[in-house]
């Protein structure tokens, strides 16, 4: 008795679906909308990640190869000195040695920098 309304109405609805309403079409629109909105995001992600990857690679290169940023003064000095000694004439070498012996600061610096 209490369920009379449910028995009477059953599952009938007072609503009507508009003619031509197509749920499959809505799905097509949803797919198109998703594909449309995804592209710029993908491009942005690609561009962003590419820039980040390049930046990280450059950074790592400097971290693991510091010579690219700041060349080693010790090895540079020695190679330049060796090259100079090999090519300089005896007279020039003698003159340089006299100058260096007379310069106390240069000698102390060299001693501390390269032999300590």
């Amino acid at each position: 008795m209490e369920n009379e309304i449910f028995d009477k109405v059953g599952k009938t609805l007072p609503y009507v679906m508009p003619q031509g309403f197509d749920t499959a079409k809505l799905m097509q629109e949803a797919i198109a909308r998703e594909n449309g909105s995804k592209k710029p995001v993908r491009l942005f992600l690609w561009a962003g990640s590419s820039v980040a990857a390049v930046a990280a690679a450059v950074l790592l290169l400097f971290v693991f190869k510091p010579s690219l940023v700041d060349s080693d003064p010790v090895s540079d000095y020695h190679s330049a000195l060796t090259q100079y000694c090999n090519t300089a004439s005896d007279a020039e070498m003698e003159k340089r040695c006299d100058m260096q012996d007379a310069d106390y600061m240069v000698n102390i610096d060299h001693y501390e920098a390269y032999y300590n």
Binding site: I5, F6, Y15, A24, M27, I31
Partner: protein, 186 residues
Amino acid sequence: MSPPIEGLDKVSVQIKSLLDDGKKAKALDLLSKTYGETIYWHARRMVVVHEDAQDVLQETFIRIVRGIDSFKWESKLSSWIYRIAVNECLRMIESKNRRLQTQSLEDITKMITSSDYVDLGNEAALRLQAAIQKLPNKQQTVFTLRYYDNLSYDEIAEITSSNAAAAKMNYHHAKEKILLTLKSSD
């Protein structure tokens, strides 16, 4: 192709197979043809207005398009779709801020009849829908899923993140409230 998962219904097997073969558009087309109208009618019963039900369906489809690739197939596909639709309906109801629970049956009936695509000649059905609209959201959801869509309490529990006993209780409370509302308005 991965082996079929036990307990999947025929349509779910077909949809999964199409997805496994990389035919996502076809899989989604089949999904929309299978569940589209069911979801539309669920949404329509919940949000009343056709345009709102259409928006709910569209949002549900968008979420399905986004999430179908990561769907685990451990639960029923229909339960997953319902869950998305139920959430979208509740989101829509919240956004409309209708507060129908505090309104009279007559006012709700007027609200329903003022929208498009309504059968004005079916007064008894109109009154029943108005009484359903007066229910709290959870009871309305559970009642609609059980009464109109014939879902089991276990399925309803899965969809509403609840348990079967709570779903059953919600359904019976809802039914009692509907009867009381209709009786008191006579």
